[in-house]
Symmetry: C5
Subunit: 355 residues, 5 copies
């Protein structure tokens, strides 16, 4: 059993805070930057191939969503930071691949760090991915390491003009992104629950020691998911208090709804944790039960055979004067006696349910 | 052991919030809508067979209770929503069959989500059912998936004019509905306690492994009930603070009483959880006790028979010069010695209480 | 093991709140109502035999203490309620024999529900009894199911004019009643502690399985006492905040003292719970220790006898050419060898402390 | 194992609060009252032999420290109470030998109850002692049951004029007393930690059952110390808020320091509790380990000897036609076979580390 | 297993608070005092060899960082205290080598106590080191027992003029020091996690008892780190509230960032603690599993050999009339029967997976 989440890369000792060094997971092959401009009537998407191209571009429509993924190039980030006047700490946080979910209010814009998870293919590890949002009055920047994953459907809705996404402002777009992240958790917790149920069936049937290791891993998965969801809940809780100018009053109801969903997710995790700890108890008890059965069998067999062996031993003694030995039916009588003893003891144990 | 509550259907990924898709349990055969109008003097009940019929109907009396069950038709719900000017999020919540108990204040009306439970027939699963209330200044809407169940007696009292239900306003009706829901919990927790007591008797008597699985299930039932009751308590706690215009001052005392009842229920559940965890300890200890008894028996039997078998073995040796073998009473002496050893060891163990 | 506190009778489903149906324990043979009137100078006690008699009576002195016990007659309670203008919910609470300790402020008077406990005779159950107080500006009503028990000494002090009870107002009488209830808890927790100590002595000595059941029961008793004391502490905490007009400033110090006593009681219970969970661990360990001892004995005996039996078996073989068999002292040599092996193994185990 | 702290004497049932009955531990032979008067320049100590003598005495210097120990005489206390105008509840609390640490503000003076502990001689019990302080604007009264113990060094510093004790007012003296009490805890927790370390060494070495009982006792000691320190921390926390006129602003920094020390002590206890619960786990595991070792030995020995015994048995059979028996080297071959089997099995177990 | 953190030296009983006695770990060979003066343009470092030299020195530049290590000389500290007008309690705290992390506001300056940790060489103990900061408006004093360790890189950045350290005031220097301390924790927790992972691999493989002792030690390390980090988080939390004049508004964002890092560290520790408690469960279960395997083997071997031994015993009996003995192939038939029984039983156990 390995604990991948214990291996965390931290800021190197003594570096000045705010210095931009890429950290964390190996970078994907290529960074990709796409800009979606929109107003109530239209929507235009531009994908930038080079930093230069991006710096020269002048957007035409009032609302902007800049979506960046696989970003590991400090220079690129620096350029974006200058364009949108971001604080160096924001840039440092974005480069750092292990950030707790949090909300920082920098006055002109909000910085929100969140994390999503994915169960990967055959190996059973829960892979985290950081998602960062910068929410200004008329723009949203989103940063993640994998292409569009979480926001794919949202981009489609925006481009196709479905729902009221274009009518409402940047705050509704930001809410929709948080909502997409929460929906993503529903998916991964579904996966997680499926694993729990699957393990549940194994616990009583199997005897192998790896059941326990798998229970432990699921327990840790639950902890990790919880540790990402609880601060996310706090972020939403803070947002619903309505103290941030970026979010208008009308969006509050939606944020409150998203907040309720995080509560729901956290309760679902609590539920799963209890099931898992029940599995642990079942496993322990099954182990002890098996020992009980083995010992019962050993005891019964020993008790039945010991007297028989003793009798055989007695009539194997070489005393001169052992009258039974000379009776014609002595041998048959003794074999009969042995059978009788075995049957009587067997019945006895059967009645006491030891067999 | 299956964990039905782990299988939850969540909003599908990326759908715009507020879109109306029916979710959750399979629908009952038919939706049913009934409207009860009343004032202090009279009360009239109308059952609608079609949406059209309902939309055309004009109520005559000032107070309205619209009771809807089995609702899975988004169009129908949309119509009701327009008639009473409900926010899309309310409609979405009502269609979602897995909603945490909560209270949302939408200004003109309050939306309260609650959940009730039922132990079903032979299979032992605790089946949840959502109950939603929308409380306006002169109307109450109630939504549930099963016909009238929880509110049956309440409807009767209203129709027959018993109690002060008609004299007091919509807030008293709403309180009475919350009270009926709480009463329902008293019933299901009674059922739950009966199961705990029944299991209590089984723990020491039985040896089967399913006792443990049943203990685990009861533990999870307790958790689920608790997880529904605690937010319900919070809803009542918020209501008793008297900040909602829908509830008049005179109803506060009743709400406080209902709040006390939820406290009582939660404590009763805590109590049951402690009993259950005591059962777990008893079960574990009974298991270990059984092992102890078996090992004691094995040890005693082995200790008694081993020396006897050795003696028999010794006198089965074929040495030329073994004088005892030639004594006339040698055989009888040795058999006597064996009996003596067996009796002495038996007494010894009996005095040490190993037998 | 039965859990009497799981069997609770709850309000019947759907009844209008405030309807007066007697509930809970079977009634004592007779209700009894006594009225004590007093001022600083004198004190008069009247016992009423019938409802009519009570309704007609006009008290002469300014301070009133109406003490009712065994009350299960709704009509009687209704009459008292009308005379002192009590809210229907108060009357409902008094008839309900399972009320959480609480304080309700009805403006003109305070309603306090408390609970006392008694260990009964030979059977070991902790029997609860409800005590209700209604505290007005110049009267105190007390309701309980058993005759005077808790307030016996208080009544005597009042009648005999001891202490400053008559000089101070109704609030000091009410305080004295709460103090008497707390003193009662000191008594029952003394009893409880005696039981814990008694069990402590049994745990290591005895092997019977009922020790565990008794540990579990004591644990549950501790929980029940705690669950009554914690809300009682809250009642006193609220009273000491001095927001209730019924209690004058001078009485605050006494209430704070009573509050300290409840803290003390709760800590004493915590202490006992830790002792009990220590007992559980001792019991479990004693069980496992016993298994250890048995297995050690089994192992030692087996190891000593197995080689001896093998040797005897070897010299019982029927090979033609076994020179030892024909040595004159062969038999004695082998017996000597067996003794030697037994002694050496015995010493070995003795040195390793296995014997 | 006895739990001395479970035996607590409580106020007798129904007595009027404030009545002065001595309670608790048996009194020391003699009460002793000493008065220290001082100002910045001088300091005078007077010891009173009789109550009369004390009542007549008129102090000359502005600051007073009246130190009383072994006080069990209600009349004496009453006299002191009248002289310093103490509330009856203060006097009752002082006579009660089991008082939770607390701070009561009586306006003119503060009443502080604290508790100190001592490990006594050979028997290992933690003996509590109550220390009460009454802090007025120019006097401090201290009450304890043992002679000067805790305040010995403080008295010396005051008499010898060391430090700034005489320069600063009664509040600094009171602070110094609290500090002395906290220092005393540092001592007793040192003792406690020494016991924990001592037990740590025993756990793996010893097999006796009393290790567990001692672990349990230490756990309870930790609880008791904690239960005295936590309210003491609260007392200091309240004092540092600076709402009490008796303490001047300059003393606040010192009180905050004392508050930090109580935090430190409580953390040290937490630490010790974790070590103790680790000891419990080690003990349990050592027990189970020992069982494992025994069973391994039993298994190995049984597996080695069983086939050998069977072989010996086979060649002890009396069939007419058993050719091996007649081979000249048959006996030696079989003995060789037995040795071979034993060696091979032995090596097998040795390689699997069962030996 | 020793618990070095239980051995703490506390202030000696009854000493006046504020008296300067060196305490704690043995002093390093030599104290060392270095002063760094700087402004935005330049930076000068001076190392003092004697107290006299330091007292005479007059700094030229506005910002001062006085870094003291290995300080155990009360006279020296007294001199520093007078120069910077420090309160005696600050000096006492600095001499005390066991101080909880805390923040004290003395008006003109802030006093911050923190603690760092180091895993030392081969022996596995976590060695604590105290670091004290005094933060004034234009100076920072730092005290630690080991040379520059934590602040080495920071000093270099300051001297070389890297980053914005010189441009910003003393508050940014103080923040940078706190940041360096937090970075140090990232390092030690990395070490700690490496140990946890290393142990993880040992748990299932090894059987030695010291695994458990090592698990216990890691658990205690986690506690100790946590106990230092939680109050450090509180210190930063208080600082970010911005109520201290020493820290300017611009530094708040950086402090908040440092605060987030402490949250991250604490969560990482929580994570590790859960992994460790999972290890404990794995260890316990592995132990019980091994017992299970042994018992299974014992049971199987016993069951197979017992009947065979009985058969051999039967045909070793000496009855006159045992026809089988005289059959020519009797011996071979019996040997065949024995083999048959062994094979059948073996198959049976193999199918039930007991082998």
């Amino acid at each position: 059993m390995r604990h991948p989440h214990l291996k965390q890369r931290f800021p190197s000792l003594g570096e000045p805070p705010g210095s931009l060094l890429p950290e964390g997971n190996p970078p994907p092959a290529l960074s990709r930057i796409s800009l979606i401009e929109y107003d109530a009537a239209q929507c235009r998407e531009t994908v930038f191939d080079s930093l230069q191209q991006g710096l020269e571009y002048q957007p035409q429509l009032p609302m902007l969503w800049l979506n960046v993924y696989g970003l590991t190039d400090p220079a690129l980030l620096q350029a974006i930071g200058q364009r949108f006047r971001l604080h160096p700490l924001v840039l440092e946080d974005i480069l750092n691949s292990r950030q707790r979910p949090k909300l920082d209010d920098y006055g002109d814009y909000l910085f929100i760090a969140t994390r999503v998870y994915r169960y990967q293919g055959d190996n059973q590890y829960l892979r985290p991915d950081q998602v960062y949002l910068v929410i200004g009055s008329n723009f949203v920047l989103s940063f993640q390491s994998q292409p569009l994953g979480v926001f794919g459907m949202l981009r489609e809705r925006l481009v196709q003009g479905r729902g009221q996404l274009r009518q409402l402002g940047a705050d509704y777009l930001a809410y929709s992104m948080l909502d997409a992240i929460i929906d993503d958790y529903f998916g991964v917790i579904d996966d997680f629950n499926a694993r729990v149920e699957q393990l549940d069936k194994l616990v009583l049937a199997s005897r192998d020691r790896f059941v326990l290791a798998r229970i432990q891993r699921l327990k840790q998965d639950a902890m990790r998911l919880r540790r990402s969801l609880v601060p996310l809940r706090e972020v939403l809780n803070v947002l619903t208090r309505g103290e941030h100018a970026q979010f208008q009053h009308g969006t509050m109801l939606y944020l409150r709804d998203a907040f309720d969903h995080t509560l729901h997710l956290i309760e679902s995790l609590e539920s799963a944790r209890e099931v898992i700890s029940g599995l642990l108890e079942l496993y322990m008890s099954a182990q002890s039960n098996r020992l009980n059965v083995q010992m019962r069998v050993l005891t019964v067999i020993t008790i039945i055979f010991m007297p028989l062996t003793l009798i055989a031993g007695i009539y194997g003694m070489n005393f001169d004067n052992m009258p039974e030995l000379h009776w014609h039916y002595g041998y048959y009588a003794i074999i009969g006696l042995m059978l009788l003893i075995a049957v009587v003891l067997g019945l006895l144990f059967w009645r006491r349910r030891w067999l």
